[in-house]
């Protein structure tokens, strides 16, 4: 696989980065980069780290000359890959507020990480609540459903200018389609993503409301948080991507069907062997977390009622 670190790859324009991934040689990872400047969302670093763990030690990286290359070093990408990139980092330079590339393979590792994460990002309790929620649910999804031998790779960064936290999580597990198909037959990666984002649908059972351990609500909650905070949410698995676009009106309205949200999709991307999720959370909007929970409750109830009603037998009029 060849991955190019471009001049700019954030969730708004992440499609171009995904499209450029070259999957011809799946047994090695080759990294190249823009010569002048690199500005990337944490999702990009998580993806590279996840794929690197899969093909290690067959990893190569061309010399990086971009002025911002030390950022990639400080974010821990090369440590994670186990390669020396030859870039000198001034340790006295401000590193900002970030979580370097972190590999999580067990439930207890995740719990420890959640305790350590908040001080790293310098978050107030009300700001920390949705961020911890997102990281917990996304990472537990990987640990429980992805069958990923290397676990989840997580990276986060605070962007001062836009006052937002960007989070990226990637794995090289079975992907959403195979996970969902265990209980719901789907014809494509995009259809599987659509089902995975629908509240009450889980790959662990066809039963309404899930099993004793899984409700099929985690991704719906996370998409809803992004919706309420007017931020991007991207999910990419197999050859398909769903991107929640920023809400254009003040009115908060959550949808059971993600395709009714303001969104874009692509079903012809280079095949990613696993699942990748990226989300931006504006810190100015996090006080609305409790309001969001009210909206989720209403939407969830509506989803269950509609699905139950769809199964009702209809009277036969002759």
């Amino acid at each position: 696989m060849k991955i190019h670190l471009p001049n700019s790859a954030h969730l708004g324009n992440i499609d171009a980065f995904f499209k450029r991934i070259d999957t011809k040689n799946p047994n090695a990872l080759s990294i190249s980069a823009n010569k002048k400047w690199i500005s990337v969302h944490p999702i990009v670093l998580s993806m590279i780290a996840a794929y690197g763990a899969k093909v290690r030690p067959h990893i190569s990286c061309e010399a990086m000359t971009a002025k911002s290359a030390p950022y990639i070093v400080r974010m821990g990408l090369f440590d994670s890959l186990g390669i020396d990139c030859g870039i000198e980092v001034n340790e006295h330079e401000s590193a900002g507020r970030f979580i370097p590339v972190t590999q999580i393979k067990t439930s207890d590792q995740l719990s420890d990480f959640l305790n350590e994460m908040v001080p790293l990002l310098h978050l107030a309790p009300e700001q920390a609540r949705p961020i911890k929620y997102i990281v917990s649910e996304l990472t537990r999804n990987v640990l429980e459903h992805a069958s990923a031998p290397h676990g989840a790779f997580l990276t986060a960064q605070y962007f001062k200018k836009s006052n937002r936290i960007a989070v990226g999580i990637a794995d090289t597990g079975v992907g959403i389609r195979k996970s969902i198909n265990a209980s719901h037959a789907t014809g494509s990666d995009l259809e599987a993503i659509r089902l995975a984002l629908t509240p009450g649908i889980t790959g662990t059972t066809r039963r309404e409301g899930g099993t004793e351990q899984n409700a099929g609500a985690g991704l719906f909650f996370i998409k809803s948080i992004a919706n309420v905070t007017r931020d991007f949410f991207v999910i990419y698995s197999g050859s398909a991507m769903f991107k929640l676009l920023k809400r254009s009106t003040n009115k908060i309205r959550l949808h059971v069907d993600p395709f009714e949200d303001r969104h874009s999709v692509d079903s012809d991307l280079p095949k990613w062997p696993g699942t990748v999720v990226g989300i931006d959370i504006s810190l100015e909007q996090t006080a609305e977390f409790n309001v969001l929970l009210d909206h989720i409750r209403d939407t969830y109830d509506q989803a269950i009622r509609e699905r139950k009603k769809a199964k009702y037998r209809k009277p036969k009029f002759i």
Binding site: R129, E137, G200, A217, G218, F221, F289, L293, R297, I304
Partner: protein, 96 residues
């Protein structure tokens, strides 16, 4: 009446589903199966996840019926925790 202090097992952010499952199978269900009431005390718990609450109580409601909620008291819940418990108890009963 038996009280389970969630903070002692799950900390201020109650999210570990393995912990929730252990609480359900070793403390919550045995007590409720005997017909006794129980208190789930969330004192010190700042927040939780839907997955944690689901793993803690959804199977209890399904196995023992909605009436079991009359024997479970949720104590010292923050607004966030209350709302998440409300979401889970609603959808479990709606889907029953």
């Amino acid at each position: 009446m038996k009280t389970i202090r969630i903070f002692d097992h799950a900390g201020e952010f109650a999210e570990n589903k393995d912990v929730a499952r252990n609480l359900r199978t070793t403390l919550l269900l045995p007590e409720l199966n005997k017909g006794k009431p129980i208190v789930l005390d969330f004192d010190g718990v700042d927040s939780t996840t839907q997955s944690f609450i689901h793993a803690l109580i959804s199977d209890v409601i399904r196995k023992l019926g909605s009436d079991v909620l009359d024997r479970i008291s949720f104590k010292n819940c923050s607004i966030t925790v209350q709302k998440i418990i409300g979401i889970v108890t609603d959808y479990v009963q709606e889907g029953a």
